[in-house]
């Protein structure tokens, strides 16, 4: 069996496995909106003064008087073409609201993940090399402290220290200084847009506003990533080829990083896929603390305003993001490790 056909077969199998998952996700969100309190027909009707006839008419146009199975089929048809309904609060299509706000959340989560990895991998390696020593215990304790701290507590502490006490951070509101000229939205990722427009002061402002919320989201996932790095590093470091490399007198970089870390990174990659889900959930809280205009705060505000179409769209979007990331992680895994390809 050649390498390429192996990979193709794996990809096919993996993508086939995604379909029932997506169907389950769709079903779940369908049920979710039906158990949320309130009658959508009443909301969509002209207003609080709507008469019974008007409400009944809205119910007919929305298809809410049809049998459940038919509603479900219609729902699947709608979401498959990206029709997520309309938000009552913003008056916009949910899909365009989400598209507009998603880049802010994406930028935040992505930078947070980079920060988390840049802390957790080196710390995990040190803990593995010195496993059982006081350094190991201290690192483990700090990681556990990070995962034990609610995201809002971490965020508030960071604001208190860096904005209020030290005055180093900008006001913890929004993505950029309100007096700063915003670059034209090309990608929606503000920092990239600033660079594309060659607007460096705006880039600096955007970066400065991003740092604290990203750090907050990084803190809460450092521990699981670090633990996985440590555990898989220990497994690799006790293996024969590392012993041989050591015995051959290779330098520490070659032993620990070139041979050790490269082989230890695969389980860490899988953990990233799992941890992302936790970060996406924490997004809601962090975006509230930092008044970050992403999809999390959008969903929360809609939920509090009993406006459910955006909530449903958000939950769908998050599930899809999770599925995409985990499929990507699995595929990457299969590309790197031939053992995964052949089950």
């Amino acid at each position: 069996m050649t390498r390429n056909s192996d990979i193709r077969r794996f990809l096919f199998r993996r993508l086939l496995g995604v379909l029932p998952l997506l169907a389950g996700v769709g079903l779940f969100t369908f049920i979710l909106v039906r158990v949320l309190p309130g009658d959508p027909a009443v909301y969509y009707a002209t207003g609080p003064m709507a008469t019974q006839e008007e409400i009944a008419q809205v119910r007919t146009t929305l298809g809410l008087d049809r049998p459940l199975a038919e509603q479900l089929a219609r729902y699947f048809k709608d979401i498959s073409v990206g029709d997520l309904g309309r938000s009552l609060v913003t008056g916009q299509l949910v899909s365009s609201d989400l598209r507009e706000r998603f880049p802010a959340s994406f930028e935040l989560t992505f930078v947070a993940m980079l920060l988390a990895l840049s802390f957790s991998i080196p710390l995990g390696i040190v803990a593995a090399i010195r496993s059982g020593s006081w350094i190991d215990h201290v690192i483990r304790f700090i990681g556990t402290l990070g995962v034990s701290m609610p995201a809002f507590v971490a965020g508030i502490i960071l604001i208190f220290i860096f904005y209020f006490k030290l005055g180093l951070a900008p006001e913890p509101i929004d993505r950029i200084d309100p007096f700063m000229l915003k670059p034209p939205a090309v990608t929606g990722l503000l920092m990239i847009d600033c660079l594309l427009a060659g607007n460096f002061p705006a880039f600096a402002s955007a970066l400065a506003r991003l740092l604290l919320p990203a750090l907050t989201m990084a803190i809460i996932v450092v521990a699981p990533l670090m633990r996985m790095t440590r555990a898989s590093m220990i497994a690799v470091l006790t293996s024969d080829f590392i012993r041989t490399a050591r015995a051959a007198g290779m330098g520490w970089w070659k032993v620990y990083v070139s041979y050790g870390l490269r082989n230890a990174l695969l389980p860490v990659l899988t953990t990233i896929g799992l941890v992302v889900s936790y970060q996406l959930g924490a997004n809601v809280v962090v975006e509230k603390v930092f008044a970050w205009p992403g999809v999390g705060s959008y969903a929360l505000n809609s939920l509090l305003a009993t406006d459910y179409a955006p909530v449903q769209g958000y939950v769908l979007l998050m599930a899809c993001v999770y599925v995409v990331i985990n499929t990507a992680v699995d595929v990457l895994h299969a590309l790197v490790d031939p053992r995964v390809r052949i089950e």
Binding site: P20, L21, G24, V25, F28, L32, V35, L36, P37, G132, H137, R140, F141, T144, L145, V147, S148, M149, P150, A151, F152, V153, I156, I157, I159, F160, F164, S277, Y278, Q279, L280, G281, A282, N283, V284, V285, K288, V289, A299, L300, L303, L304, T306, V311, Y314, V315, M318, A319, Y322, V323
Partner: protein, 290 residues
């Protein structure tokens, strides 16, 4: 001392516990902290120096001092008393949520592993779908669906923990199913019920206990985060998440004690449960014995 090599060197659970705790003082601290915290929570109404909801407009926004150790809030309520009483509420929520997910999750996961086939695949699919959503978002939606009450917070926090218990119980039981001592027990004439309750569940319990400890931490985090964003428990109930949310606005005016003490209580509690879980894992899991 001459060692007696005629007997195998058996490490009893208490001896193992002692060894682990002596080697890891941080875990040892958690083993004392969590029971102390539970005692504080249970006794809170009698320990609390003031009525947690009594306002005192003559002593508003006082910093920590001799008569109010944690200071007072904008209507003169004693922060220490509120933190103590909130411990009772938050822990009660966490304990009932975790008990619920422990029982339901173990039954579902255990049954899936025992029966195999379609029930097993169905359970696996359902937990997969549930895990596809960020669990905190599921909890948010659930509280919105069930209404703002303590019961819905408990159910949401139970749901957040459920897939972990289902998966753990499933994997533990399916490993145990093929163990030789279970085969031996079956050959020895035990019926299925005796095997399940006499051999499998006792052997799956240790790892499930570890999950209970970690799960308690999760549940506290989840419940506090929900009330922080304004879902579930409503002010003026004394609850850590709400207290931090209300105090956060005052931090920037210099009244740091309103948010800092409940935030500390919250973090220490979750930290305690996490460290306890780690310590228990070290005690129970033979593979980590050195």
């Amino acid at each position: 001392m001459v060692r007696d090599f005629s007997q195998p060197n058996v490490s009893t659970p208490p001896a193992q516990a002692w060894l682990v705790l002596a080697r890891n003082p941080v875990s040892a601290a958690a083993f004392f902290f969590v029971p102390a915290l539970a005692a504080l929570a249970v006794l809170a109404p009698w320990i609390a120096p003031y009525d947690p909801n009594a306002t005192d407009l003559d002593h508003v926004l006082q910093g920590p001092n001799g008569s109010h150790w944690f200071g007072t809030d904008q209507v003169g309520r004693d922060v220490l008393s509120r933190v103590l009483v909130a411990a009772r509420l938050d822990l009660a929520i966490a304990v009932s949520a975790v008990l619920l997910s422990f029982v339901v999750g173990t039954v579902i996961g255990g049954a899936a592993a025992l029966y195999g086939g379609l029930p097993d695949r169905l359970t696996g699919r359902l937990t997969d779908v549930l895990m596809t959503f960020p669990l905190f978002v599921v909890a948010m939606a659930m509280v919105a669906a069930l209404g703002n009450s303590i019961q819905s917070i408990v159910l949401a926090s139970a749901l957040v923990n459920l897939p972990f218990f289902v998966r753990l119980a499933r994997s533990e039981i399916s490993v145990l199913r093929t163990q030789q001592f279970v085969e031996a027990a079956r050959a020895g004439g035990n019926n299925e019920r005796q095997i399940l309750f006499g051999f499998m569940i006792p052997n799956a319990l240790p790892m499930l206990t570890v999950q209970v400890s970690t799960g308690l931490g999760w549940a506290v985090l989840n419940a506090a985060s929900l009330s922080f964003i304004g879902l579930g428990i409503r002010p003026p109930t004394a609850e850590w998440g709400i207290m931090v949310a209300e105090g956060a606005a005052n931090i920037l005016s210099g009244f740091w004690w309103l948010a800092v003490f409940p935030a500390m209580a919250l973090t220490l509690t979750v930290l305690g449960f996490n460290l306890l879980g780690d310590g228990l894992r070290d005690v129970i899991d033979v593979r980590t014995r050195r």
